[in-house]
Structure formats: structure tokens, C-alpha cells
């Protein structure tokens, strides 16, 4: 298993999950220039990270990589059994994070200095999606069931990006959740590498 990683990117969540799983892996750290270089474009046609080489082949999209790692280490119990409602919820939150939470954060990140109106629309979009997470966390410690899972890696990392863009002011439950996740030894190991 080899992870192609850039500091401060969506590959951090894969690094974190690998640390949670405790499985051996190699890391290749790429600069922005190296990501756009000819060699990395053979791994990801748009020059993005993360990419992993699982030994069976190359794989991209951080959400897909996290689901696959959870499947490959099924004994770690970070995703529900095949066909279960719990597993359906893992898929639900993986896509909710990717399509409802993160796009608002990215709009704020990209436009906060150049197009304030567009950044504000991103803030509103994030807040609308975050309300559902805040409500969920009011009665639950984790996103699915009673235990930490791959859904927490994905939603947790999306919310960590939200915290970075200072979007969590109205969401004390999410703030506490992010703090809880950041206190995990695996998270600390992953971000020490990064």
C-alpha cells in the first residue's frame, strides 16, 4: 500500500484512516508542482491527490479510497456489514460530506478574498448542511451507530476544513466532535507526518 500525499489536502484523511487501521503503508509526499507533473498524471489524470496503490492497482477519490480501506480491513469494524442499514448510512454520510458539506467550504476557501458575495453563498450552503450534522450530534457521539467509523473520518475531515475556514461558530456540537476526533492518537500521528 502506497499513499501519494500532499500536505493540507484531502489525502490527510486517508493518512488518518491508515493510522487508525494500523496497517503498514508507504507514503510519497508530492509538492503542488509534482502533482501537475507528467509522472503523477499517469496516476491521476487531473493531477490530484490522494492516489493510493493498493497492490491491486491505482485508486483515486478520497471517499472511495476510505471505503475501500475499510473493506480491506473489515476486521477493524470501521464500516457496517454488507447490505446492512448501518452500511447504507456510511454511504449516505460519505456522499453527504462530499456533496453538501465540502462544496461550501471550498467556495469560501477559493473566493473569500476575491468574491465576497460568492464566499458568503458558500458560508450559507455550508451552514444549511451543517445544521443536520449538529442535530445528529446532539443525540449521538458518532455519525453511525455507537462507535467511530469511516463515516467519522470523512465527515470529521470535512468539518475540520470547515473549522479552518472559521465556519463552526454556530455549531458547538460539531466543534466538540472535531476536538474529539483530533484528540485521537491516529489523527495526531497522521498530522505529525503532514
Amino acid at each position: 500500500m502506497r499513499l501519494y500525499h500532499s500536505v493540507g489536502s484531502r489525502s490527510t484523511r486517508v493518512l488518518w484512516l491508515l493510522e487508525e487501521l494500523g496497517a503498514p503503508f508507504d507514503t510519497t509526499v508530492l509538492t503542488l508542482e509534482e502533482r501537475r507533473g507528467a509522472e503523477h498524471v499517469t496516476r491521476h489524470p487531473l493531477g490530484r491527490v490522494p492516489v493510493v496503490d493498493t497492490g491491486s492497482g491505482l485508486l483515486f477519490e478520497s471517499g472511495a479510497i476510505c471505503l475501500q480501506l475499510a473493506d480491506l480491513h473489515a476486521q477493524a469494524g470501521l464500516i457496517g456489514p454488507l447490505g446492512s442499514h448501518e452500511r447504507g448510512l456510511a454511504y449516505q454520510w460519505a456522499f453527504y460530506n462530499a456533496t453538501e458539506i465540502e462544496p461550501g467550504v471550498v467556495e469560501v476557501y477559493r473566493f473569500r478574498e476575491t468574491e465576497p458575495t460568492r464566499a458568503d453563498a458558500g458560508r450559507e450552503r455550508f451552514a444549511a448542511a451543517a445544521v443536520a450534522i449538529e442535530r445528529h450530534l446532539a443525540g449521538n457521539e458518532w455519525m453511525v451507530g455507537n462507535a467511530f467509523s469511516v463515516a467519522d473520518v470523512l465527515v470529521g475531515d470535512g468539518m475540520r476544513l470547515g473549522a479552518w475556514m472559521e465556519l463552526l461558530g454556530d455549531f458547538p456540537g460539531i466543534q466538540a466532535y472535531v476536538a474529539r476526533l483530533q484528540a485521537r492518537p491516529a489523527f495526531q500521528r497522521a498530522t505529525a507526518i503532514a
Binding site: 475501500q68 442499514h85 447504507g88 462530499a98 462544496p103
Partner: protein, 193 residues
């Protein structure tokens, strides 16, 4: 199994998938306005469709639902076995369609008449992402494992929306792929319902 559905939205994907599976299911067809009323807000916090009740509880997100329902009906053969590289590639293309392809289409759909710069950026980002699919389809009928899977349902569904907005010129492999997939009886049944 019950699908909460509004025709002409992302719930059409799940409706199509249920027809591919071919087992009985219940369908609640809603209006766009009903999505934002209290009964549906209890099912989805933002008032969106699709939502499915899978027998144990509500689940939402169209792409996640397609994976969940295909996995719950393995005899339909729409999803490679968990832990295989083909399964991982299905995950990859489903996320890719939702994150690299669909946002550019939505930009054109929303801003096509009002914001030329935003529309152009959306079209450019979509076409860059679709070029990857075009290259991937060279010599292939389907994206993963030589057979129709959830990856094709999502990628073709999203690219079909792009085609509807006139964004697919100059992608011959994609055109042949969409023609092949659009002829599937399950899709025709879902569209006729």
C-alpha cells in the same frame, strides 16, 4: 423498501436502479413543493429526494443509495464483490461523477442565462472531467469489469444530464456508451413510469 421520488430529479437514478434490480418496491411520487413540507423534512433534513426507507430506517444521497441497494441485492450483479479492486473502481467512478462531473453541469444549469463567466468555468471543468471518461471508455463497453455496474448508472446518468444541456460535443466514445446505456429496458421502464 420505499422510494420517495420526484420525477426529473436525482431520485430518478434510484428509480432506475430499482428497475435494474427487478424486485417489487413501493414508490411515493411527490411534487417539488412537498419536499419542503414537514413530513418529508422528517425524512431528509434539507428536504431533498431521493430518500429510501430500507425496512430499518431512512437513507438518503442518491449515489450512496445506489451502492447500498445494489449491495443489498447481490444477485442483480450490479456491484463487484467487496474487497476487490473492481469494487474500489466502482466507488472511485461514483465519487468522480458526483464531484468532478456533476458540479460543472449544475453551474451551467443555474447560471446558464445569467452569468457567462461562471457558466464557462462550469463547462470547462465538466469537459476536463469527461475527457477522462472518454479516454477510459476506449475499447470498453462499460467502465468496470466488462459489465454494467453502479459506476455506469451514475456516470451515464450524470453525463446524460450534461448531454441534455449540450455539453457533450466531441466525445465519440461517450456518445456510443450513452446510446448503449440509454437503451437499457430498466431505464426505459423507469422513465415510462
Amino acid at each position: 423498501m420505499r422510494l420517495y421520488h420526484v420525477p426529473g430529479t436525482r431520485s430518478s437514478r434510484v428509480h432506475w436502479l430499482l428497475e435494474e434490480i427487478g424486485k417489487p418496491y413501493d414508490l411515493t411520487v411527490m411534487t417539488r413543493d412537498e419536499r419542503h413540507e414537514p413530513p418529508h423534512l422528517a425524512r431528509h433534513p434539507l428536504g431533498r429526494v431521493p430518500v429510501v426507507h430500507d425496512g430499518e430506517g431512512y437513507v438518503f444521497e442518491s449515489a450512496g443509495l445506489c451502492l447500498h441497494l445494489a449491495e443489498s441485492n447481490p444477485e442483480a450483479g450490479l456491484l463487484p464483490a467487496a474487497g476487490t479492486h473492481d469494487r474500489a473502481l466502482v466507488y472511485q467512478w461514483v465519487f468522480y461523477a458526483m464531484l468532478e462531473m456533476e458540479p460543472g453541469i449544475v453551474e451551467k444549469y443555474i447560471y446558464g442565462e445569467t452569468d457567462a463567466a461562471r457558466t464557462a468555468a462550469g463547462v470547462e471543468s465538466y469537459r476536463k472531467a469527461v475527457q477522462v471518461i472518454e479516454d477510459e471508455l476506449a475499447g470498453k463497453d462499460y467502465l468496470v469489469g466488462g459489465t454494467f455496474s453502479v459506476a455506469d448508472l451514475i456516470v451515464a446518468g450524470v453525463a446524460g444530464f450534461g448531454g441534455f444541456l449540450g455539453m457533450n460535443d466531441g466525445f465519440p466514445n461517450l456518445a456510443a456508451y450513452l446510446e448503449r446505456i440509454n437503451a437499457r429496458p430498466a431505464l426505459l421502464r423507469a422513465n415510462a413510469a
